[in-house]
Amino acid sequence: MSGTAVTTEAGPARTTAAGRTRALARAELTLLGRTRATLAAAVFVPLIMPFSLRSAVTSMRLEGTGLTVGSVLLPSSIGFALLFAVYGSLVSVYAARREELVLKRLRTGELRDVEILAGAALPSVAIGLAQCLILTVAYQVTLGVGMPERPGLVLLGLLSAFVTWPALAAVTASFSKSVEGAQVAAAPLTLVSLVGSGTFVPLELLPDGAAPFCELLPLTPVITLIRGGWSGHLSAHDTAGALATAVAWTVIAVFAVRRWFRWEPRR
């Protein structure tokens, strides 16, 4: 038998969820490397902005708050990574794939919906994770932040974030009609998170009345868990609150994707 492809009598080998997701993620990684704007936002912004923030943090009045320059900067930087490398980048990716009918085409194949969303998210999530590691090492060397006191909390915070934020990106993309529109749609949550989740300014330094609202924002529990995990100064009550908020946002985001995610452009 030459020249023709032969499938075995037992039937062709079935694809696996991991294999399909990997094939899609590989293509997405190639695409990410070719979209300069997305790549720049994903790679440089979260790596450069924390350093530019350093002088601001150094001048903050941290005495009496139990915070150090390093313990403020590290969670903030991780927040940046999540907002720009993961959330902002994925909002554009999901909108672009929808508008090019790529999502619709993928849905005609063997990929399940969750595999499509995960495959598209993986490269951005990997970049976000890499940024977190690089930033941690950098702060350990330059600011001596040391190792986390309770690494479990840090991991839980990151784990919930890497599910919640891609899902929030998918939902955000659904409320836009184009890639440009998607970037605009991403702005409110990005800004609110920068201001209200302790990314720019530690919550301890915000006015008293704002704290209860800010604690309920989706990025806040992530920052709280990472900061608390590093310092070890997080009460059982605050830990439980942060974990509950993180889980609640994961559930809300996943539900919202199932309910509102649009796989095709509007007619």
């Binding site: 492809a5 499938t7 039937g11 062709p12 080998a13 079935r14 694809t15 294999g19 399909r20 990997r22 094939a23 899609l24 590989r26 293509a27 190639t30 695409l31 070719r34 979209t35 672009a96 794939r97 090019e100 009918l101 790529v102 619709k104 085409r105 993928l106 849905r107 005609t108 194949g109 063997e110 990929l111 399940r112």
Partner: protein, 338 residues
């Protein structure tokens, strides 16, 4: 493979699809029923907006039907897509590939998501795109994009192939190439469901077809069956000095109706051979020449136009004429001949 050879590969019963929208529901598919047997090429014909794509998307399992039932290879394609998808290939009406990937990268990605996939090189070769492997999708011509789409639909050697307007945007050569490929696939046992608004395409490829009109099946059968109910035509220029009344009595020739345009008369007949023979014998005896003589069997095109018009007239609750003309322009001039 796993299903009984005699089973219908696609069964559609009473299918409905309603697009919701703030109290303004639009019913695109209104009770469509048909079936496609194993190894058949089945064409869904219809004007734009007839519900072809809406119907095919339900059969592909992209959305749940609002009503009715679909079975593909014995499974519900929406709820049981894990069982169906590895055995089908789908080509959507347009696009669906990231414009910044190359042809080869696109094929590799798709191969990683397809059970029993051939290599990218094999399928690209099959549709004549192998030499464009390293070109970005955004740089392909419209026809090349269609062929890439077709290549990927064929990647897993599907048992059932869905082609939504596969040749739209292709040049003549590309169209013939796709037709050739569809015939090869049919000969290899693949079941093909295609939509088209090219009647010649349906005539060239389809073993059976359904004409959709406003979400309903207006006619279904082999191309011969669908055209059989339609009249054939004989047209010619009236010889100088002759009026229609000078011809032999038309009902006696098997003619069911006629119309004139200038000097040209067009006869409708259910008995083409009898009508043509009688007419030619008359001309021979009268020693007149029938210039521009055209003897034509019923075509799918006429069947299509007539069915669309009848359905439209029915929908509009208008009185139906007993002799719908093949062309509205001629219908207006028909009075002159009566």
């Amino acid at each position: 493979m796993n299903t009984n050879e005699h089973d219908d590969v696609i069964e559609v019963t009473g299918l409905r699809r309603v697009y919701g929208g703030d109290g303004k529901d639009f019913e695109a598919v209104r009770g469509v029923t048909f079936s496609v047997g194993r190894g058949e090429v089945f064409a869904l014909l219809g004007t734009n907006g007839a519900g072809k794509t809406s119907t095919v998307e339900l059969i592909e399992g992209l959305a749940p039907p609002s009503g009715g039932r679909v079975r593909v290879l014995g499974h519900d394609p929406y709820t049981d897509r894990a069982a169906v998808r590895p055995r089908i290939g789908v080509m959507l009406q347009e696009g669906g590939f990231p414009s910044e990937l190359t042809v080869a990268e696109t094929a590799r990605m798709w191969a990683g998501c397809t059970s029993g996939a051939r290599t990218a090189g094999q399928v690209l070769d099959r549709v004549g795109l192998a030499h464009r492997s390293d070109v970005r999708v955004k740089q392909l011509s419209g026809g090349e994009k269609r062929r890439l789409d077709l290549a990927l639909a064929l990647l897993g050697d599907p048992e059932v192939l869905f082609l939504d307007e596969p040749t739209t945007g292709l040049d003549v050569e590309g169209r013939r190439g796709t037709w050739e490929l569809v015939r090869e696939l049919r000969d290899g046992g693949t079941t093909v469901l295609l939509t088209t608004h090219y009647l010649e395409e349906a005539e060239a490829l389809a073993d059976r077809l359904a004409i959709l009109h406003e979400g309903r099946v207006a006619a279904v059968g082999t191309p011969a069956e669908v055209t059989a109910s339609q009249p054939s035509h004989v047209s010619f220029e009236l010889p100088d000095g002759y009026l229609p009344g000078d011809l032999p009595p038309l009902p006696g020739l098997g003619v069911s109706g006629h119309e004139t345009t200038g000097r040209t008369i067009r006869l409708r007949t259910g008995e083409l051979q009898r009508t043509a023979t009688a007419l030619l014998v008359w001309a021979e005896r009268a020693r007149v020449e029938l210039r521009g003589l055209d003897v034509r069997s019923a075509s799918l095109e006429e069947a299509f136009l007539r069915i669309s018009r009848e359905a439209a007239a029915h929908d509009g609750d208008r009185t139906r004429t007993t002799e719908p003309a093949a062309d509205p322009r001629k219908a207006r001039k028909r009075g002159a001949a009566a």
